[in-house]
Symmetry: C2
DNA sequence: ACCGGTACATAGTAACGCAGAATAGCCGCC
DNA sequence: GGCGGCTATTCTGCGTTACTATGTACCGGT
């Protein structure tokens, strides 16, 4: 992953993960795999787990421990009301930024 | 400015500034003012200046000191060939990210 | 017994934007 | 003359985030 992508992900990765969780509850390993499917090929597992801990501590998601047939138990995260609110705020912020950048990209101001 | 915006600007602000410089050379104070016009009302001056020092040290911009009628001399920055290349890379990275987020926003996968 | 896949966790590092303050030059006004 | 206000740049310390690298643990197949 380029350095530019790394820096850009700061602030957006969290929103991406919350958006994924808004569709359906998922656990860390699964989220990482899904991100890779989406093309974020080099997002480190550790990054995702750390992020999930953060959003949990901020009370944006709920957690449920579910035993797995393979390996240790899964921690399944689901977006709660506060998380949905936060996600909406994220989309507003993103839209604002995306609009300005779109303008800049389409031939200056 | 919200905390989300602060985090999102990491990595994109640099691209925004370089995009501004690709239109025409400008100096720090002017860039800050232009950003505010664009709606980025709370971007700290210090942030812009630090960013300019960074891109200069990485050889993406040239600098020319120009005396001002009012106040201390201005440091006018202009995008060079390497900077243009870097900016193109930035747009590619941005487009990639924007596409995925667009998909997520338009009702999940 | 071992290896590979599943699943989570953590310590240390680097990069970036922000808050706040300092510095410096020029102007107009009381 | 001094003082505040505008222009313009610089610096320090701080908080947040993603990456690297490593470790732990559980299971199934061979």
């Amino acid at each position: 992953m380029g350095k530019q992508m790394t820096e850009m992900l700061k602030g957006t990765l969290e929103g991406i993960v919350l958006a994924l969780l808004s569709v359906q509850p998922e656990y860390g390993y699964e989220i990482t795999a899904r991100l890779r499917e989406m093309g974020f090929s080099d997002i480190a597992e550790g990054t995702v787990y750390a992020l999930l801990v953060r959003v949990e501590q901020r009370g944006l998601v709920g957690v449920e421990k579910v035993p797995s047939e393979k390996g240790p138990p899964r921690k399944v995260y689901s977006l709660n009301a506060q998380g949905r609110e936060y996600l909406e705020e994220f989309w507003r912020t993103w839209s604002f930024l995306a609009e300005r950048l779109q303008q800049l990209h389409d031939g200056g101001r």
